[in-house]
């Protein structure tokens, strides 16, 4: 059924359709309407067996999800920025204990100064916590992302938590058409969870997370690294199955848009890539041979797909709505690193755009296109990192 709903409502519906059993969450703008909607489902009796724990902080939200997930339940939460930062410690806990929790992070800029607007630095700062990260371009992808996230997270080759990321307001509060399959079809796609272990086996009791001495800790870290590597295959498999069942294919970790014959491409994540695709069409009408590469999955990082792209283009303009202070945009940093030991050496330039929700428009993409074109023609970077649109 198609419905015009906000990104946050899409997330809430997806959680409901995934038949989550425990939701523990704490209010923060712009996440709150996800939890409000879920509460509404409960109040209206639209969900069965859903326990909602209105915790006293995000740290406890993640802790409660961890307890619930370790007990075998399908657990869900959502947060933003400061809340995600507060959870940081427990994000490691969730992955270390191999719990397939799914969380929606509504990307929001970190304070100070206070900001409630879109910025990817909050989620990217959690890149080393052992969570898979999926960046949604639009509300449909928020919905699809949450459904796929559970299936991928709970896959026996993965057993890791997944973060589904959407933009503050640009998706979270924007109404858009979302197609939601019938519940029976979703149930077929996403059967009940079969946990790796559970705390309810009283005859064979286990202790989870006991002290790992230097002789054993290392191997458990390797297990997570391997599961993350396995996740790449599982993502493609599940993305393909999703496409076959529901008509929207997610078998690629990077969505390539008109990249086949492109001289150079724009690479980025999340909602800004919708605007970029629009701009690519307009630029192509004007004779530019450009494309777009939307990185859907940042963790695990799609090394192989990026390499395939990089060897066929002359340049990559990496658009980062985030920044790692003392270094560069985070996607740029990772993409460049991946290509270092390969024979693909496109010109790469980092454009820092839209921090704290500053609008990033089709016009801006055109300006960047001209800049990239000049760089490629000249064969020389003007500068490696550009704070695009900075008031100078």
């Amino acid at each position: 059924m198609k419905k015009v709903i906000s990104g946050n409502y899409a997330a809430a519906y997806a959680a409901k359709h995934a038949r989550v059993e425990v939701v523990a969450a704490y209010p923060i703008t712009p996440q709150t309407s996800i939890i409000e909607k879920i509460s509404e489902f409960i109040a209206n009796g639209e969900v069965e067996n859903l326990q909602y724990v209105p915790v006293e902080s995000e740290h406890s939200a993640m802790a409660a999800c961890i307890g619930a997930s370790a007990t075998g339940a399908r657990a869900f939460t959502a947060t933003s920025a400061q809340g995600l930062a507060l959870m940081h410690e427990m994000l490691h806990w969730a992955s270390g204990a191999r719990l397939p929790i799914v969380m929606v992070d509504v990307n929001r800029a970190m304070a100070p100064p206070w900001s409630v607007w879109d910025d990817q630095t909050d989620s990217l700062a959690q890149r080393d916590t052992g969570w898979l990260q999926f960046y949604a371009e639009n509300n449909q992808e928020v919905y699809d992302g949450v459904l796929m996230a559970f299936k991928i997270a709970e896959h026996k080759k993965v057993n890791l938590p997944v973060m589904v990321i959407e933009s503050a307001f640009i998706l979270s509060h924007t109404y858009d058409v979302v197609d939601m399959p019938p519940q029976e079809e979703i149930d077929e796609f996403l059967p009940p969870r079969e946990p790796l272990y559970t705390l309810t086996d009283f005859d064979n009791p286990i202790a989870v997370g006991a002290l790992g001495t230097p002789s054993d800790y290392y191997e458990f870290r390797y297990k997570i690294a391997k599961a993350m590597e396995n996740a790449k295959e599982v993502i493609k498999e599940v993305g393909k199955e999703f496409g076959e069942r529901f008509g929207r294919d997610y078998s690629k970790m990077i969505e390539f848009y008109k990249t086949e014959d492109a001289d150079f491409v724009f690479m980025g994540m999340g909602s800004l890539m919708g605007t970029v695709k629009e701009a690519v069409d307009l630029l192509r009408k004007e004779g530019y041979k450009v494309g777009a590469a939307k990185v859907r999955w940042f963790r695990p990082f799609p090394r192989e797909e990026l390499y395939e792209l990089a060897k066929n283009v002359q340049g990559i303009a990496v658009l980062d709505r985030n920044f790692s202070f003392g270094q560069e945009g985070i996607l740029f940093n990772e993409a460049k690193g991946v290509l270092y030991n390969t024979d693909a050496k496109p010109v790469m330039k980092n454009y820092i755009v839209g921090l704290g929700g500053r609008d990033f428009t089709v016009k801006d993409v055109k300006v960047i296109a001209d800049n990239m074109k000049a760089i490629i023609e000249k064969g020389e970077l003007d500068r490696e990192i550009e704070w695009y649109g900075l008031k100078r």
């Binding site: 640009i170 109404y175 858009d176 609008d359």
Partner: protein, 185 residues
């Protein structure tokens, strides 16, 4: 693609109006997008909200700078906000006011091609008993722009508000549709 900008005050339902309009266009098979200005405005402060309507999926995720249509829910805003900022050549302005066409034009910085006037506040007070003009003004939008049919607006309103509330709001929209005066400038 048609881009519509709503001007209202916090609490008047400008955001809901943008959403209902999107819902109405959606029932006619269009692709839609509706969003508030991403601010932190509180009740009473001037707010804006936006709707995009297109025949194909809408990928663009930016704010609207050059609207085709401007809808003003609160007449007092005409003195405070430049409601015609960025209005496209040939654009339409729809105002809830008791003022005359001349008086409204006087207050607009940029002259639209078409001006629609309706006293939505009186209609809302009469039908709903409340000065909430977001549903009635949509009747004017349907009439002045022809983007959506009034029937679609009515059904989108009933989808948003259940029961009697939906009926009343749909009635307000229909009434405004009938009473809207349209002037080609």
């Amino acid at each position: 693609m048609i881009e519509i900008r709503f001007h209202g005050r916090g609490g008047q339902g400008a955001v809901t109006a943008a959403n209902i309009l999107a819902g109405a266009a959606f029932t006619e098979g269009k692709y839609v997008q509706a969003f508030p200005f991403f601010g932190v405005e509180r009740r009473g402060a001037p707010v804006t909200a936006f709707t995009r309507i297109d025949e194909k999926p809408i990928r663009i995720k930016t704010q609207i700078y050059e609207p085709d249509v401007v809808v003003v829910l609160d007449p007092s805003l005409l003195q405070v906000v430049d409601v015609t900022a960025g209005l496209k050549e040939g654009g339409i302005v729809i105002v809830n006011t008791e003022k005359s066409k001349e008086e409204v034009l006087e207050l607009l910085k940029k002259k639209p091609k078409k001006l629609a006037i309706v006293d939505a506040t009186s209609i809302a007070l009469e039908v709903l008993g409340l000065p909430i003009t977001n549903t009635s003004i949509l009747g004017a939008v349907a009439k002045a722009t022809g983007i959506v049919k009034i029937e679609s607006v009515e059904s989108a309103i009933k989808d948003t508000f259940s029961g009697e509330l939906g009926e009343k709001n749909a009635k307000a929209a229909r009434e405004a549709f009938e009473k809207t005066e349209i002037y080609e400038i």
